[in-house]
Subunit: 365 residues, 4 copies
């Protein structure tokens, strides 16, 4: 079962582990001629780590991208782009504990079954959030491609625990504010409250979940296909690939299930000679196709499963219940790190669709 | 852009339209030796139509399956299984209206852009709910494969509008009750209220949405892979392929985003010498792998976009706003018809995973 | 193992059997707006049967195409195009013989192993040359797409048995002559000799093989990619999918293996201000990319394995050697029927590449 | 257009260039539990360079494999295996010449068109024979998987220029002799003559082509599928991915085109209670399925296009004919280096088929 590739014409292949040599990705199908320097990728990678915030894990990775192939004279060549970040700050000792005592909320137990015990359990191996660095590197390429056709993808923390952001944030506000605070929320007031909640959770040796909203601006109408080729089904596939995601919805989403057709249908209108919609309950997708409105999705993240409170588990050697006490470094809330990952995944899928639809050409000039 | 195939080793390819000759599907990769008669498929197809209920569209399709290939002496041969249902009860006249005036909430407008006006707009063409008959036919094959390895997939209407079903229904209760009422709800009391709500919506020329819950029983632990090959990302991709789906969540889903790690983590325990979990907030999936618990997902359906109330739209010829008055036959709520479709899609994805994992063999005896 | 689809953006999925209801194909990814009538497909299908020639099997199939989906008002809609030819002239009785006594040179024995005896052995089931009707139907769509961008694909019998065609035939000569003789050879003199050889083989209850040459005209330079994405590797994959093919070569092919670099390299030159080549030993492909010259391949077909001479085989029930005497209707040479099939396969692959490269747009006007 | 992946369940993704940082490959879908050390891969890599022979290019690459991911405690984990060889001995200066003057027989001209001039032209970039190191690394993993199920793949130089090897070499002879001589021919007498021919070609500043035969031993019957999923079509696709391949045939191949059915059909017989065949003109493949006999293919390689004789080309800046004089280091014959590459590609495809057929399990113990 080979499951580490995503996409049809813009194709990612992941490799790496949490405590191995690196996390890496091969991006195949990127058109030739795109300006791409390591600094372009580094800028996105840096968004994953709200530096000095104290609200994320104390594991300090330089996360310095190396482009191994696919560029020449600072432009893409049309050949696959391989990129890695090496793992440096690795302390694998705490993980011997979980070799036989699965952490609740983690993949430890099913992974042991799936791989017959041969999986690299250190730091969760390939199941680690560390793999999202690879996603963000690929996303950096996708974002540059999208920028060339005027599409921008922005995400932010819509909620963390009980704290909810304002939802009327403009593109400009998001651009200006999201990465200026450690919780990646576009609403500064909510950001402060979120930060406080996360610290409180950390103090009580617990963790919080949250929802990330992602918006794609200026996607032209008519991208996608019905049924299996639909924009929302491919986006959801990509979003559920992010560790800890438990739900995905577009537009009014689960809210639509409680509304009526007369409320939920978005009436069409004409603005400056073009078709427009009066509302966007559809989240920019109808029948699997983009409508020309903003594509809006919400992505639910569960609370970080690693908490330092004692938890009940099973010793798989003795097959007895046992109390698990996790040391190690854990993020009390995954959402801040997840925001750029969600941006990356949506960018990756949209870049693939834009290439397949002929809107991004195979040679860029 | 070819987007009408789904799966890796158990692969569906859809074809057909609402008002063309047929809706059809090719199922490739089904192991040889499975007993398969048209009656097996017909049984599933019949679940789509709550006969005589009056709560679904008056379009009466016989929906009689024809198996065109892939079986011999009532068993599968290992060759692709092509199946169709012919379209008979087709009245295309009302659809000339929407050729240039897109229905709000439908794919009419983006489809016109996507296909340059060449799409078959009658009845929504390939965007029609009619295509779900093809999904159910393929699902019938998947269900038979899963039955051979002891896996069962059941779905029911968890909510319609404001009415919510009990959620503590056992497998036996679901089996006995879901298809005994026209709204496909396992909770008989809720079913009566749902039915009433649907009729009220129909009377007020409006429509309702709802949520379908689907449960897969007895999936062994360790099915799936991390990241792109994860069980939840492939399931969500399949579920979002169903027309009108706006949200998908697993286990506690969006609720997990508001809970704490100490609440949301499912503690492990030992039951009869086997690993078990005390709760199932994970919905049976951790890190993309099955845990051995029931796989539980909720799927949000929007209210049927076709309503007979006047709605605002745009005449694409004159580019002027215009009021749209839809005649035609519409389901006031899509959820009852969607229940077997959700069952089918989950079965299809699980059959693919079970084949890939070697648990369903390529020759069945 | 699902192996009945081919292509990346222009994707075929085959279904059907020799003695089942039909042979069929779904073509996914055809751009919207292509004029396509059943007559367009029928014209290609008719090329498979050199009518009244007496040099092919006496099995008379009307081979009347039915388009089941994907067109509306005589144009493609962007939805998958399903097409079938029904099987009518089916006499399955002779095949009970081969159920347990595999025909030498046929797939009977490995198919029985592969499918555990569940395969449809009548007429070879899915292994039958009959499936090439499905390939030709798909090829008809591909040819129309290619015609829109000025690409033409022509094939002819280069050799049958010991008789070899002239090789200096122009595009115009091929167009005018190939389908005017029953052996599908562009060289009229050779055609007469080939026909004679085939009749002699038939009289001696034997069969002949041969080589089909295929030429694609006016493919622009730069189509393809290195390594796995190369034009030649995808073409060869498609060509080896045709039953009875045992060899594929491009340009000087196996001859190149005996030549020197100074002979085999094609020198570049300038013709009318454009890059050209003085020779075409490359067969129009260098490093997996089209050079702008004609793409030229030779495809070796083995002699028809079904011959009415007694042959040694094994009775799989008793596991004893036994003499097999085949009745039934057999082509003494497969090459004439194969010519349009080779044209179809090359057209299909080129259409896929032209779509992926953006040279065929997703909406045709 | 993403074309750098191959396989369905055992999937390779290539990256790297001749004069970039490295050549690399990601192998996805390798079962967990396979013993795999860098030394295992190094052994295969070393076969590419007939050390000290003087008959291959003087470019000296250490070609030292680094496994970047996918193993833990010297066993595969089920996660993707990324491997690279770094490029060290790189002299890119001679290649400035060819930036605008394409080498005859090379991909230089179509690559420039294909990638709009953005391709890495140094050493041919991704079109370089150097990329075959990546294929051999992946092949090393495939070979270990196949060894576990008793399948062995061996190749040898069947002919170089006019010199032809004996063809009755046994498996044991091949194992013992092929890599003991610099031309990789199992027949020691022919090897000496081949070596002489290669040296003569080098002295006359020319190059030679040749044919590689590859044999897969002990593949069980019934592997593969008809049509697009056939063993021969997937093998040919992989083989044509190797740079410089111009022809592929199975068994009697192009010879079959000149024989009669009564000669070419392989009669069945019984040996030690099992089905066997009296001859193997089929090359072990009938109808796309393995027959249980040895799978035998011949692969034609053209003479190395890089020769130091003056050749005519075109200056793409001035669009004038010009004489090209190549310096640089070139192999006078590619065949010796190609032998382990052909072995690798056949092993890779067979490993994929054996996984898909359930004969290689997803966890190895």
């Amino acid at each position: 079962m080979a499951g580490n590739s995503l996409g049809k014409e813009f194709v990612l292949t992941l490799f790496g582990e949490s405590h191995g040599k690196c996390a890496g990705v091969v991006v195949d199908g990127c058109p030739a001629g795109l300006e791409l320097r390591e600094a372009d990728v580094q800028r996105e990678l840096d968004k994953r780590i709200p530096k000095g915030s104290g609200i994320v894990s104390s594991r300090i990775e330089e996360d310095k991208v190396e482009i191994l192939s696919g560029t020449f004279k600072d432009r893409t060549t049309g050949a696959p782009i391989a990129m890695i970040v090496q793992n440096r700050d690795v302390d694998s000792r705490p993980y011997e504990l979980i070799k036989d005592v699965p952490r609740p909320g983690h993949a430890d137990y099913p992974a042991k079954v799936r791989y017959g015990g041969f999986n690299d359990y250190r730091g969760g191996g390939q199941f680690s959030g560390r793999m999202t660095a690879a996603l963000v590197m690929a996303g950096a390429v996708a974002k540059k491609l999208l920028a060339g056709v005027g599409v921008e993808v922005l995400a932010y923390a819509l909620s963390i625990g009980d704290v909810r952001s304002r939802t009327d944030l403009t593109c400009e506000e998001l651009r200006a504010s999201v990465y200026e605070n450690p919780v990646r929320c576009g609403d500064r007031n909510a950001a402060l409250l979120m930060e406080k909640s996360v610290r409180q959770a950390a103090e009580s040796r617990d963790s919080l979940g949250g929802v990330v909203r992602v918006i794609a601006y200026d996607v032209p109408p008519g991208i996608g296909d019905p049924l299996f080729g639909s924009l929302d089904s491919e986006l959801s596939q990509a979003l559920f690939s992010i560790p800890a995601v438990k739900g995905v919805e577009f537009g009014s989403g689960f809210g639509a299930a409680q509304s009526k057709g007369s409320q939920n249908n978005d009436p069409l209108t004409v603005v400056k000679g073009n078709v427009a919609f009066r509302t966007n309950n559809a989240g920019g997708v109808l029948g699997g196709l983009s409508t020309g409105q903003e594509i809006v999705a919400q992505v639910a993240f569960k609370p970080t499963p690693s908490i330092s409170r004692p938890q009940m588990s099973v010793d798989l050697q003795s097959m007895k219940e046992t109390e698990l006490n996790l040391a190690g470094r854990h993020d009390p809330c995954i959402v801040p790190k997840a925001v750029p990952v969600v941006e990356a995944m949506v960018s990756i899928v949209l870049a693939d669709f834009m290439i397949r639809s002929g809107r991004i050409l195979r040679i860029l000039k």
